[in-house]
């Protein structure tokens, strides 16, 4: 039904660049080429920003008077934790668009977001626990952020697990997109209930972000890193989406031609 509606509205769509862009995104070869051109730039920006941010963070910023050197883990932990939440949200939004308008490329983008988000969640968990050892004297404390991250990891694993268990790819993607949406509705509730649970049980009062007033020289590298990982997400997501597209369309003409050209 979808395709017919789009063909009927083609004239109208030409006038609106946004609709036109979405329409083009729906064309696999166009998306494949467009993403291919974009990816190197995203990687370049990511690497540039990371080098700059880590240089400032690891070598330039002074040690924290309260936490000592270990606060430098923050430049990895905090951007990773932010990314894990942001990617889940963006996955749910893309999943919503995919479900409502039945756009295949959105299904692919949403599903390719899940492993990247899970990777950031794992990094946030690992770096949080490594920060905990020198600070709290133990690798794991049921602190609000770590606990929410752990639940978030389960949510990601659920989406990935569901997507991989259903055979038919589009059905799998639609089911997992719906689950991502349900998870996203629950995510703020989980986040705040865990936070509140933590205060209720008198959890650790020092967190990675620190109660200490953050010096601008410590804040800048954090912001740079937070922007840098967004480019990582963009580049990685598009790379994954391209591979998925090739895999799904392997019997289609455009992929066959592409591979033939690739060979020569």
């Amino acid at each position: 039904m979808n395709t017919n509606v789009t063909t009927m509205n083609k004239e109208k769509a030409r006038k609106n660049w946004l609709v036109m862009f979405i329409h083009k995104m729906g064309s696999p070869p166009w998306f494949y080429n467009f993403a291919g051109k974009l990816i190197p730039w995203l990687w370049a920006i990511f690497i540039g920003l990371t080098v700059w941010g880590l240089y400032l963070g690891l070598f330039k910023a002074p040690a924290d008077y309260q936490q000592g050197e270990s606060f430098r883990i923050m430049y990895l932990h905090v951007p990773a934790a932010w990314m894990s939440m942001m990617i889940y949200t963006s996955m749910a939004i893309m999943g919503f668009i995919a479900l409502v308008w039945r756009i295949r490329i959105m299904e692919i983008l949403a599903m390719c977001s899940a492993p990247v988000g899970a990777a950031f969640t794992i990094i946030a968990l690992a770096s949080g626990s490594l920060w905990g050892r020198p600070t709290w004297g133990t690798y794991w404390v049921w602190d609000a952020r770590l606990t929410s991250e752990l639940v978030l990891l389960f949510l990601y694993l659920g989406v990935i697990g569901l997507y991989n268990s259903i055979d038919e790819p589009r059905k799998a993607a639609r089911a997992a997109c719906l689950l991502a949406m349900v998870g996203a509705v629950n995510l703020p509730i989980i986040h705040y209930s865990v936070k509140w649970w933590n205060t209720l049980h008198q959890g650790s009062s020092i967190s990675v972000t620190g109660g200490s007033n953050i010096d601008p020289s410590m804040l800048w590298p954090l912001l740079i890193m937070a922007v840098a990982v967004k480019f990582y997400y963009g580049a990685n997501l598009l790379t994954r989406a391209r591979v998925k597209l090739l895999e799904q369309d392997k019997r289609k003409g455009w992929v066959k031609n592409l591979v033939k050209e690739h060979k020569s």
């Binding site: 039904m1 979808n2 395709t3 017919n4 039945r102 038919e168 589009r170 799904q248 369309d249 019997r251």
Partner: protein
């Protein structure tokens, strides 16, 4: 009653059948034939709004559809009459009594038995009884003759004739041997998408 244009359904990114277009009016029968695996069941399920077509349009579709598929939708732990009474209450139809349709499909003797004790043919008859009870205008029948004896086949034909004479319509998918007699019948030969 039912009019479709270039309906297509993809599974694993392959069209299951060649795009389907047809128009079905009241009193007409559409016989969908084709080899095994050409997508008859899928087509019927698309027409029944269980599956969403990948492309193509429903120009017209009545909401009043009855469906008999491979899985008959009969609860094993309920008796024949309980199955039908539930469907009557659930659908809110009251034009015919459950006992009457049970007699019509020839299950009068077993109406108090649990559905799990029925044979495959008897279960089919039970599903046909539900179809009669549902009082729908468009019937979507997927291999209605399978598992039925000669008497049962005649029963389906009889039901169909009554239904079409009363201004109903029917899409019937079958792989061949038997075809119901009806003057206003169209044949639709479904072609597998893989053949293209």
């Amino acid at each position: 009653m039912l009019s479709v244009s270039k309906i297509n359904f993809e599974r694993y990114f392959e069209p299951v059948f060649e795009p389907v277009s047809f128009e079905l009016k009241a009193g007409q029968l559409l016989l969908v034939t084709g080899t095994n695996g050409c997508g008859k069941t899928t087509l019927i399920r698309v027409l029944a709004d269980i599956l969403h077509p990948t492309s193509g349009d429903f120009v017209e579709r009545t909401d009043s559809m009855g469906y008999v598929g491979h899985y008959l939708g009969i609860k094993d732990d309920l008796s024949v009459i309980e199955n039908l009474r539930f469907m009557r209450d659930f659908l809110g139809t009251s034009n015919r009594s459950c006992e009457e349709v049970i007699r019509q499909v020839g299950l009068g003797r077993v109406s108090e038995q649990l559905a799990r004790t029925l044979s495959a043919g008897q279960r089919k008859r039970c599903a046909l009884a539900r179809l009669l009870l549902s009082n729908t205008s468009l019937w979507l029948l997927d291999e209605p003759y399978s598992n039925l004896d000669q008497e049962g086949v005649d029963l389906v034909d009889e039901m169909l004739t009554d239904h079409l004479e009363a201004g109903g319509a029917c899409v019937l998918a079958t792989h061949g041997n038997h075809r119901p007699e009806w003057a206003d019948a169209q044949d639709y030969r479904l072609i597998s998408g893989a053949a293209a």
